[in-house]
Structure formats: C-alpha cells, structure tokens
Symmetry: none
Subunit: 142 residues, 4 copies
Amino acid sequence: MKNELVSRFSMSLPPALLKQLDEMSGDKGYDNRSQAIADMIRDRLVEHRQKFGSEEICGTITLVYDHHKPHLQATLTDIQHDYHDVILSTVHVHLDHHNCLEVLLVRGKAALVRKIADELISAKGVKHGKLTVTTTGKDLPS
Amino acid sequence: MKNELVSRFSMSLPPALLKQLDEMSGDKGYDNRSQAIADMIRDRLVEHRQKFGSEEICGTITLVYDHHKPHLQATLTDIQHDYHDVILSTVHVHLDHHNCLEVLLVRGKAALVRKIADELISAKGVKHGKLTVTTTGKDLPS
Amino acid sequence: MKNELVSRFSMSLPPALLKQLDEMSGDKGYDNRSQAIADMIRDRLVEHRQKFGSEEICGTITLVYDHHKPHLQATLTDIQHDYHDVILSTVHVHLDHHNCLEVLLVRGKAALVRKIADELISAKGVKHGKLTVTTTGKDLPS
Amino acid sequence: MKNELVSRFSMSLPPALLKQLDEMSGDKGYDNRSQAIADMIRDRLVEHRQKFGSEEICGTITLVYDHHKPHLQATLTDIQHDYHDVILSTVHVHLDHHNCLEVLLVRGKAALVRKIADELISAKGVKHGKLTVTTTGKDLPS
C-alpha cells in the first residue's frame, strides 16, 4: 500500500511512559510506535462499540468442560441450536478423555451475542468460559 | 500538575481512525487526545506484564483482517506454520468480500502462546486481534 | 515455479475419450490436459495408499444427525474422546433446530481412521456419514 | 482389439509423480500407462456427470496444498470470498512447515457447490482436493 493516506499530528506523553511504550512495542514486534498505538485504538474502539447493544459484532465464545457431566453437552447443544442464525460454527477439540475445548464463532447484535454467551458460560459444569468480542471489520479502518 | 515534564513526538494514523479516536475520546470525557492515548498505553502495559510462564494453557487467537492487503495472508500463514505444534486448528470465516475472521485454537506453554499471538496481532494490516486464554481443564475442578 | 522439472512422454486414448476428457477439463477450469490428468493420478494414488493400513493419512469424517436423538450426541462424543490423538478437531454447524453437520479432521494410520469412521457412521441416528481420505502432503509431489 | 483407432498425444508430469504412477499401475496389473490413465478418466467422467442440480446440499471441500507455492493461497482465498454466502467456514490445519489441510464447510445449491469445488481443486499447486456431498438433513429420515 504505497500511497496510503495518513494524518500526521503531534502528542505528548510522560517520558517514562513513552519509554515503556517503546519497549513493549519492540517486544511485540511492531515496526514503529504509530502502528502500535493504532492497534490499541482499534482495540479500544471495538470494546467501546459493544456497549451499544444493537451494533453488529463478531466474536468467539470459548468453553472448557468435561463432556461426561450429565446433561451438560445436551444443554449446550440445545442452546446453540436455538441461536443457529448467530453461531457461524463451533469447533470442538478433544483435549483428553474428559475435557473439551469448544469455540463458537458468532456474528450478531452485541446484546444477543452477550446473552448467548451468558447462557452457555453459566451452564452447570462449564469449567471456564469467555466471550471475546471483535469487529466485523466493516467499520474499522486498518 | 503544571510543570510536569512531557515528551513531545509526532505520529500518524489513517484519517478515518483519527476521527473515530477523537469521537470516542469525546464520548469518554477526555480533555485531549494525548490523555486518551496515555490511558490506553497504561492499560496495555498492565496486560503485557501479566505473568505468562511455562504452564500449559489452551486459548484462542482471534484475528480480523482484509485478505486483500498485500502479503498479509502469506505472513500470517508463515507464522502459523512455524508453530504448527501449538496451533491445533484455524477456523476462517469469510465475513464479506474483504474481511476475514480467523480464529486459531492453541495449546502450549503460556509464554510461547503469548509470543505467537503478539507476532500475529502486530502484523501490518490486522484490524483487530485478541488472545483469549483458557485452561486445559486438567487442573480445574468444575 | 519457473524452472520446474517435468518428464515428457506420449500416450494414446480412444478419440472419443480424449474429446470427453478435454470437455470435462475445460468445464472444471484446468489450463491444460496434463494438469487435469496429474490431478487424477494424485487422487488415485491417495486412494491406492489407504489400502495399506499403516500408511499415515489425513481425512475428514462428515456426519449429519439430529441432535435430539436420545444418547446420540453423547455416543458420538465418547467415541471421539477415545481417539482424541487422531481427531485434530471437530467443526459443528447447527443447520436448523434439529440437524447438525459435524466434520472431524483426522490424521493417523489408515486402518485406525477407517475404524473410527465406521464406529461413528454406524451409530444409530446418524442420517448420513462419509469418510474422505486425503494425504498428509508429504509423499505427494504437486 | 488390434485395429482400434487411437489418438496419440504427448503430456508432461513431474518425474516423481510419473514414477509413482507407474508403480501403482504395476500394482494394479495394468499392461501400460495409457490404459491406467484411461480408466481414471472414465471414472472421473462418471462422477462429473452425476446430477448436480438446484437442490440444496451440504458438504465439505477438502484441500491439501503447500502454502509456499507462489500465489496459491491468495488465489484460494479470493475464490472463497467470492462465495462467502455458500462457505460456512474453513478449517485450516498446519500439517507441517509446508503442507496445509484446509476443509471448507459448504451449504448451497448443488451445482454452485460443485462449481466452487472445481475452481479450488483445479488451482495450480493443490496436491489433492475432494468434494464430499452430504445432506442438509431436512429431507432424509434417520
């Protein structure tokens, strides 16, 4: 992307914070400071927008559970089929004889996605669950 | 804090991103752009310093990007093949003609998983990336 | 791949068969006849090798079933966890309120993969199941 | 069949593939290479002619390829984004430093699914590709 348009501006930070920013950017492999800061802004924008429930978001719901727990898997599957329009697909990894890692890819209105995540994560027997929200990419410049 | 020492520097952002940053900063009640960015940096530093050690974790790395960005997809795939022992599988959803949602399921030592996530998320052109850490289930009673 | 080495040889076919081959190759979007025939040979080699049970293969097991069938999902998950070393991951798509499409990505000795597929496909309530065998890519020139 | 009319033409294959073809043809008891290839062509024609109409099907497209092949991955992703309404999701497994197993879950009109599969499988550099057709479950009693 040669002729990509950018806006240039100046800003100020406490010197110690600037130093730590540069160290972290180096650790993470960013080419320059602007790129590292741009990534933080995009991350914060994604977060900020999910507060407004009707915004369309993408995300993942990550679940770890023991599939031998009675009724658990049937419960999780029933919930998922109720929302099959929102759940794009579910990947299941058989971690060992007992434990499952199940990751759902979801796309829908933020409030609905959050509701589905809450129902799944609160199901009795789920060891750990997490909703990760990201963007559909449409409204976020790269 | 009148006489606080500050370091002044200039940076550049895509104009659309700068505009969205300023709107969000206004929404959140920040007096100026530098203050809003300083807060993001501090937040990211806290996260960055979290201990990621040699214990085995499971997790997901969620990426949203435009697959038309030159070299981006090749870069992401090269990184993933370098760590094919840690990446269990990668699910790719074609969100629209441009945007991809790519979710990697990972299992490995926490520090290594964090390193892989950093490499992928900092790749130029990734709009949003996130590491979500969960458990292998072994050491966690339900 | 500019200087790719090729072996040139001549062969003969009944004229009608050659004509139909060329029509099909055109339909399928091949650039030339050699490429279309090379793909058939590779496909046949993959098939041929799976007869030898200890050869390592990759593949998918595709299942369609109604998750409301009593015990079916528990049975399928139990079988999958028994072979969690062979099953790389399982993707589940919630087709509608009743029907599931479940695709397992597998890698292992041909005879074992076939045994797992047979167990899953023959489970009472599975509407349709299919084992698709492919290669690990290692022993197949492109 | 002495005086059968044949068309003679020359073609080229990677030397390693030619060697493996000849070994397999010997194993299978073919008298010559042309005969072995003729059989493959006939088999493929039968498959190709299967009715693929306007009924809705589910299926998987399984691809194995070396992601280092120039332009291959970009080509495959471009095709997939053109049909993002049909491709539910794509799972990618990083088999080793070179080889990828990519499995697409698809749902759409049979003829369109077949067309997408043909485009992907015939892309130069794909080592092995296969379309597996299954049902949406709706019209199939268990």
